[in-house]
């Protein structure tokens, strides 16, 4: 496929690595050395990209939120404030990492690392481009969910060991949220896996480019649920409950300072990048864009899509207020999970009909898309009405205006927030 299969054809990084491996073998190294070398190059590549994009995204996020607040955002450090990320990193490095006296030192020291590692390991599975996935597990998506579930322990260790009431409440809230939204996340992915028929990340991309359709067009409900569950998992507003500034100072990482806090801060960004990566791979066609990947290197398309999804998270953070912890839990157990069950049932039936009936994709996919869109919207409204959301008593109401002095307008009908 690549015309110039030379090592400098960077459209497919595989060439460079392939040329390097042959070179090493010519030097007569044992057979496992090129395997290790390409692994290291892959890891270093991802690490560099992560650090650079995190530093840039600190600036982009604060600028975009600044524009939403019609103020300027960081512009002091470097030209147009571009070095803000670097300044933050240096500041965190130089600050003294205080360990409060009565903490459980081993856990206190281990928690930031325990949060940082899963956020990095997840990138092994995400396919950046053609042949550019660090380890092509055929249980790729499940690996992403499993690693996501490890940082629950790390959050608990952080909250428990810093011996601070606020941290403990934050940690307990975080664990409760993570567990209930992990279910929703797994079911959202299940819908997609059923339709694609495999859990390999590269298969998702090939399925979507093969049928020339993006998965979110066929399964909107799964995308919405996955984004909401993702928001909760990476603890970003409107679900940043455990570090809700207005209530608990900074949730489970109240007691951390210096580079330990830097790890928490970086881990949140890396987890969000990973989440955006998985969203793009599962729902938005990974590195393919209707044939554009022939000319433009796949990973550039993938990264632009990833940054676009990240922008949606920033947008949500800038505008939406925060839910209370019990409302968030009720939303997951009473609303999202039921929608996911129905979604899996419908997708399962559709795939069964498609596989058994032997129809080809072009005729059957538009029908499925129509069914799923109508189902998503209808089901959401119906179920919300069932739970009493859309009814009159909980609608927004302006204050009544009156001229009559001393009159009583109290109805007392308002039901507490559902």
């Amino acid at each position: 496929m690549p015309i110039l299969a030379k090592w400098y054809d960077f459209r497919d990084l595989g060439n460079a690595i392939g040329a390097l491996q042959d070179q090493i073998l010519d030097w007569g190294a044992p057979d496992w050395v090129p395997y290790v070398v390409s692994g290291i190059i892959g890891v270093v590549g991802i690490l560099l990209w992560l650090l650079v994009s995190q530093i840039i995204f600190i600036w982009i996020e604060r600028r975009v939120i600044g524009l939403m607040h019609n103020r300027i955002g960081p512009n002091r450090v470097g030209p147009m404030g571009l070095l803000q990320g670097v300044a933050d990193a240096i500041k965190l490095l130089l600050k003294e990492a205080i360990t409060p006296r009565a903490t459980d030192t081993i856990l206190f020291w281990a928690a930031p690392i325990a949060i940082f590692i899963p956020a990095m390991v997840v990138f092994a599975v995400i396919p950046f481009g053609e042949g550019m996935v660090l380890s092509d597990l055929d249980v790729g998506v499940l690996f992403f969910v499993a690693i996501g579930s490890i940082n629950t322990i790390a959050v608990f260790a952080a909250g428990w060991s810093s011996n601070n009431k606020f941290a403990l409440i934050g940690a307990m809230r975080q664990i409760a949220m993570l567990i209930s939204y992990e279910l929703v996340q797994v079911f959202a992915i299940l819908g997609v896996v059923i339709m694609v028929g495999s859990m390999r990340m590269v298969d998702f991309v090939e399925w979507q480019s093969g049928n020339d359709v993006w998965m979110f067009a066929i399964q909107p409900l799964a995308l919405v649920a996955f984004i909401i569950a993702g928001l909760v998992e990476v603890n970003r507003s409107p679900a940043d409950i455990s570090e809700a500034e207005s209530e608990l100072i900074a949730g489970f990482h109240t007691e951390y300072s210096g580079i330990k806090f830097g790890f928490f801060y970086a881990a949140e960004y890396f987890a969000t990048f990973a989440l955006c990566g998985v969203i793009v791979t599962l729902f938005m066609g990974g590195w393919t864009l209707w044939g554009l990947e022939e000319w433009v290197p796949g990973f550039l398309i993938f990264l632009t899509k990833l940054y676009a999804v990240f922008f949606i998270f920033i947008w949500a953070r800038g505008t939406l207020p925060r839910l209370r912890i019990d409302q968030l839990m009720a939303f997951s157990w009473k609303f999202l999970l039921e929608l996911m069950f129905v979604n899996i049932l419908v997708v399962g039936l559709e795939t069964l009909i498609w596989r058994e009936g032997g129809y080809d994709a072009a005729t059957v996919l538009p029908i499925f898309a129509a069914i799923n869109w109508v189902l998503a919207i209808g089901l959401a409204i119906f179920w919300a009405r069932m739970l009493g959301h859309g009814t009159a008593s909980s609608a927004g109401k302006r204050a009544t205006l009156t001229q009559e002095l001393g009159a009583i307008y109290y109805e007392g009908a308002g039901t507490p927030g559902a």
Binding site: V139, A146, I147, I153, F156, I179
Partner: protein, 171 residues
């Protein structure tokens, strides 16, 4: 299984698993014990992956270190009487002797028997193989397990429910 990478990985993971399992019993602080337990779960998951049973390995991470560890943590945190350290027992010596005996017996048994290496090639697609096996060959145990878990969940809700009805009901 013989190339150097997996052997090195095997021995590294074995040491991690056994070491953290031993630390679970030896360490004083209960929460540290749980963290070491999680470490040993991850070690076992690594061992599965060296045996190229990747689906089981990943599910091991998801289920054991993701859910069951949290269960254990909540159990520890919510039981008020549980002191935060491994209780000091006078049975320390007999425990060591007994575990030593069991360890040597198992070690001898595993080294002495000559395991027959099956010649069938390893599965590439482990996930679908397990899925197929679960849903046609072992469909009955699969359904029974599902029913059992459902009953257990309902039981848990009922225990909490009637105890908290007056509190939870109206507000």
């Amino acid at each position: 299984m013989e190339d150097t990478g997996t052997v090195v990985a095997f021995w590294a993971l074995a040491i991690i698993t056994i070491g953290s399992a031993f630390m679970v019993a030896a360490v004083r602080n209960l929460i540290h014990a749980v963290v070491f337990l999680v470490l040993s779960f991850l070690g076992v998951a690594g061992l599965y992956i060296t045996l190229s049973a990747d689906f089981v390995g990943v599910v091991q991470i998801l289920i054991y270190s993701g859910a069951i560890a949290i269960l254990v943590i909540f159990a520890i945190v919510l039981t008020p009487q549980a002191g935060r350290d491994n209780a000091e027992t006078s049975m320390r010596l007999p425990a060591v002797v007994l575990s030593g005996l069991v360890a040597t017996m198992l070690g001898y048994a595993s080294i002495d028997t000559n395991w027959s290496i099956s010649d069938r090639p390893g599965f590439e697609e482990t996930a679908s193989a397990i899925g197929v096996a679960l849903l046609d060959k072992y469909i009955l145990p699969f359904e029974i397990a599902a029913a059992l878990m459902l009953v257990a969940m309902l039981g848990a809700i009922i225990i909490v429910r009637d105890e908290g009805t007056e509190g939870a009901a109206e507000d």
